[in-house]
């Protein structure tokens, strides 16, 4: 099939390398399509330059504050004494989950040198020299969120402690056993993390163990009524 000017839009829409190649060959003999392809490539090359970053040191404290206020408002509305701790743990957990998610995704690709008309729309990411610094910062944010989350759960554990010291029923005894297993898993995971602070997989695993501990403590407190 012969490629004509009317096929250009379909080639650009499909984003298929084969169609691009046909368009490129056609553009060698068609000035209008050549210009269209060149501008298409320029848009792709210029767009990453619109990615913006700026310091906003008060943003995260603002977010944290508004989440804490929301948590307190809910706790007051619901009037359940343990709800506050549950919400505080959920807030810190949410912050930790998101921070870890953003670290795992990593920064978006940096702008690459402009592709010529012969390779429209193709950009390859390059290593950002600030990436390491950003990763360090992100890691610090994760560790701070993690510490808040852990502190909330440990507070909840303190509340549940009297129930676990002398479990009066088989159900409470099994909760105690499960919590001991979870604590052992947390200790193992922490040892591994101490060997490699940047291992996001281990951090995710640790977070999921803490989430399980939180669920268990909540179930235990609900069991007590």
């Amino acid at each position: 099939m012969t490629f004509t000017c009317t096929d250009l839009d379909e080639a650009l829409r499909s984003e298929e390398p084969g169609a691009f190649e046909q368009a490129r060959v056609h553009a060698q003999t068609c000035p209008a399509c050549r210009e269209s392809l060149a501008v298409w490539a320029e848009i792709t090359a210029a767009a990453p330059g619109l990615r913006q970053s700026w310091e906003s040191p008060d943003l995260w404290p603002r977010i944290h504050q508004s989440l804490a206020e929301e948590s307190q408002r809910r706790a007051a509305q619901e009037g359940q004494w343990w709800r506050h701790w549950q919400m505080a743990a959920a807030t810190a957990g949410l912050a930790a989950v998101i921070a870890i998610g953003l670290v795992l995704r990593g920064p978006a690709p940096s702008p690459a040198p402009a592709p010529g008309p012969e390779s429209p729309g193709v950009l390859k990411g390059s290593e950002d020299p600030q990436r390491r610094l950003l990763t360090e910062r992100a890691l610090r944010a994760v560790e701070t969120s993690e510490a808040d989350y852990v502190a909330s759960i440990e507070h909840l554990a303190k509340v549940a402690e009297p129930l676990l010291e002398k479990p009066g029923t088989p159900v409470l005894a099994s909760y105690r056993e499960k919590l001991q297993l979870l604590d052992a898993a947390i200790a193992d995971c922490r040892t591994e993390i101490d060997r490699n602070r940047f291992n996001a997989h281990l951090r995710r695993e640790l977070l999921s163990i803490y989430q399980e501990k939180q669920r268990t403590l909540r179930a235990l407190l609900e069991e007590r009524g």
Partner: protein, 155 residues
């Protein structure tokens, strides 16, 4: 997240407010989260919707107020070598004239580096719709760039 919001709203202060509001909405809706998408995708979806809500509110305020809001000076990284700097300026000034879906897809794909699969999850659309919206956004920007070049005197 701030960059996405700024490119959708056009200024840093509104962008930070949008990010804060998105976190609060995420927290409020956490109980309804079914885990059918990544939490980060859900957060981005809330952010994009928050940006468009804020944009609509701002437009209504502007229509009711006689004083035009002050436009923030465009700020972005220097273009890559060999890239015509006016292309970036044209894109920036044209973004808010694009319909919401093509604008969101363009910002997420071309500016922020998300893949169509991720964008589909974030915006709750099909991958094909994301590709079509990107094409539509770039076609509009291409037309504006070509028009501006035809009107630009030869140097």
């Amino acid at each position: 997240m701030k960059s996405v919001a700024r490119n959708l709203l056009g200024n840093a202060s509104d962008a930070e407010d949008a990010v804060q509001e998105a976190f609060l909405k995420l927290y409020r809706g956490l109980a309804g989260f079914k885990g059918d998408a990544a939490l980060s995708s859900w957060l981005y979806r809330i952010l994009v919707n928050t940006c468009f809500d804020m944009g609509r509110r701002r437009k209504r305020r502007a229509e009711n107020s006689p004083a035009a809001p002050e436009a923030e000076a465009p700020a972005f990284d220097p273009p890559a070598p060999g890239v015509d700097p006016t292309v970036g300026l044209t894109i920036r000034s044209s973004l808010d004239r694009l319909p919401p879906l093509p604008r969101s897809v363009f910002v997420l794909y071309e500016v922020e580096g998300f893949k169509h699969r991720e964008i589909a999850e974030i915006l709750g659309i099909a991958e094909g719709t994301s590709k079509h919206a990107l094409f539509s956004a770039k076609k509009e920007l291409q037309a504006r760039i070509l028009t501006s070049r035809r009107w630009r005197p030869e140097s």
